[in-house]
Symmetry: C2
Subunit: 433 residues, 2 copies
């Protein structure tokens, strides 16, 4: 019986899930892979907490370096995460010629080192949890020019926005509840400010376009300023608000941005609710395709990790390491492609102004918009007063972000406008101009 | 520069799409694969019709056997289809040790022959067009016990049902329109009677459970009897009607059935409209996952075929043929698993009876149901009369199909029931009993 020895680093939530699958589904894995995936070591600093897994004697150890240095270990599965010891362990595994499965992307350096060492590095779980988005980009869609992708990639944000849309709860209330239920971290900044989503977008953009990406070039805006009022007005226009990761090929550059986005009910992403994730991919051949599933959680994430382990095991069994380039493109084809500055993008906008209920207000606002080349598609003055002001909501035709920012600053300076205007970008494939 | 020679058999719609991608996206394929995918031959009996592709001299030929016999051809792409010459060509390619990409499954024989010849056989395009459902089952979800799958796998049926749901048009009217627009065949039987869907379900079931499948054991019911009235009543209960391919692991057997199915609005399949396809997969680790995209059409289907070509090319380049077992399981693990007879399944039902509007009718109907162990969850007598009869609609708790069929036959014999009762099965994960 052929055997592949797996060494697992880190037995936290996801690591435990991976161990569970390898042990509990051992037989189905054997019947599909044709070799035993033997969990030789599981290393963790905490050997006390009960994981509910019947490890054989000598499997559960505290010394992670013993794992990456053991000549019998065929595949290293790094589930510790972070930039500290995890990175040292991965580099040592590469030095020892061992392929590695990762939980997170770890940026350009690791990809390069793996490529130079000619070892496999797999990271399906790093974007969209269980769903095969990385495999789709590297394999299934390999014949396509990717025109664009849009993803709901953070379950915390999607849970908050879905709850607000369902019952009108405020951001703060839903966040507090999500924290209580364990759907949000105690410090939720990385999630709600869009940073986690942007890290995932960086990986997808790299894979789609074969590019090195500077994370700082990605425009990032979180969901903390989204109010139930805007969610309700969006609904009246036929839109839902989602935190989207968006990338588009614009010919000479690539867009890569994360922000709350209004999408029409007809967009299948609009009905992705709760902690679920989804990605739509538009390719020149495939048209629109969508993947949908759990973007986090012990077992869905572990499912993706085990998929990676099997991919690498099959490569080892066939003597076919580095069968697929890590970043979807051959290393010598990875280029620096500029990311378009947010100022330069053209898009549709939703604005909400808090204006005093006086004659001439709309004329002043629309005058400034017109002077800045922004043309209005529809305007509605909503009846409800907040702090003595009336909300005026507008949808625009295509406008340039720099013009919009300039106009909004001018409008904010009007004495009839009482509060910072709200801006939400719209992605609506049904709108031409 | 490394080169892989591709021989394409059949230059109809999909074949033309494949040739287009290989030629027009040559550079992006090179940068991803690290080798030229050279379209050496395209064989078709019709060399006259303009395909809009600038083939080099000597590429476009009429002799398909020249392609499969050429020692320089590395991969054969069979886009002719059917059981005639296509099968002869495939077997000859296997004899010559060449891997083959297929458009349709061709049943158990071909899988066995490919396995015995130790050559790759790929067929991603045979189910769900562009979407990577076969790759997901063979690779991404390899660590999961598949608990169930449900798919919308026929664009013609989904177009007809979506149009009826949208505007109340009858089956006959929408079918006629679909035929006019080219969304339905002149003889639509294979599509609308569910046979095409069942062929796809057979492939998915084989891959999920590692089983040889007898096509005749799949229960098949098409959409030709679905009326706008039932679509409307379904909507009032919170359901949509879709033609679903369903497979479930029931422990000692597997369910495999194709029939019109009511699913709740909360099921993401319910919002898959028009010619789009989608599959939900429920695994013990992954939870619920969905793939969604175009299930047919020149370019989406060709995208899947090119994904297969590249998979095989990468195997050839790495010397890793037969890296993944054809049917997801190692050949010696493929078993005969019984398919549960439709009579034996337990499910929820929607019934519509055409009953005379007289006292005591409901008592007679519900008496027969009760005598057959079928308990009613809700009943509504609808006001509208058709042919002097009034529709009575019912939803049941879980009931056994054999009991239901027996009860409906008894009910049809009642003199107060004027027409064959309508039965539509319900898949509602929110209903427990």
């Amino acid at each position: 019986m052929k055997k592949i020895n797996v060494g697992l680093l880190g037995c936290g939530t996801i690591g435990t899930g991976v161990a569970k699958i390898l042990i509990e589904n051992k037989d189905i894995l054997l019947s599909r892979v044709g070799a035993v995936l033997n969990l030789k070591y599981v290393a963790d600093i905490d050997l006390e907490t009960e994981r509910g897994i019947p490890f054989d004697d000598g499997v559960f150890i505290s010394d992670a370096f013993k794992v990456v240095d053991d000549p019998d270990i065929d595949i290293v599965v790094e589930m510790i995460g972070g930039e500290g010891i995890a990175k040292d362990l991965i580099l040592r595994a590469f030095d020892n010629g061992k392929p590695v499965v990762l939980l997170a992307g770890h940026g350009n350096t690791l990809f390069k080192t793996a490529g130079e060492n000619d070892v496999d590095l797999a990271f399906e779980a790093s974007v969209g949890g269980c769903m095969p988005i990385i495999k789709s980009l590297r394999e299934s869609l390999v014949g396509n020019h990717i025109k664009s992708m849009a993803g709901i990639l953070n379950g915390t944000c999607n849970y908050i926005l879905s709850r607000s849309a369902k019952d009108g709860s405020s951001f703060e209330d839903v966040l507090a509840e999500a924290q209580k239920n364990g759907f949000a971290e105690a410090d939720p900044t990385l999630d709600i400010e869009g940073i986690d989503t942007a890290h995932k977008l960086a990986i997808l953009t790299s894979l789609a376009y074969g590019m090195e990406i500077n994370f700082q070039d990605i425009y990032i805006e979180g969901i903390s300023k989204i109010t139930p009022m805007d969610i309700e007005f969006a609904r009246e226009f036929g839109y839902r608000i989602k935190l989207l990761a968006i990338t588009k090929d614009t010919g000479d550059a690539v867009e890569a941005r994360v922000h709350p986005t209004m999408i029409p009910f007809t967009n299948p992403l609009s009905s992705v609710n709760g902690v679920l994730n989804a990605v739509t991919i538009t390719g020149d051949a495939v048209g629109d395709m969508m993947l949908y599933g759990y973007g986090a959680g012990m077992m869905p994430t572990a499912s993706a990790v085990v998929g990676d382990i099997v991919d690498i095991a099959r490569n080892l069994l066939a003597g076919a390491e580095s069968r697929i380039p890590l970043l979807s493109y051959q290393m010598d084809r990875i280029r620096k492609i500029p990311i378009r500055r947010i100022d330069e993008i053209f898009i549709h906008y939703y604005f909400r102004f808090s204006a005093l209920d006086r004659p001439g207000v709309l004329s002043k606002i629309s005058g400034i918009l017109g002077n800045n080349e922004i043309s209005i598609k529809s305007v509605q003055q909503k009846g409800r007063k907040t702090n003595g002001a009336v909300p005026i909501v507008m949808l625009t035709h295509l406008a340039r972000e720099a013009d919009v920012q300039k106009a909004l600053t001018e409008i904010l300076n009007l004495d009839v406008v009482s509060d910072r205007p709200v801006l939400i970008r719209i992605e609506d494939e049904n709108q031409e101009d």
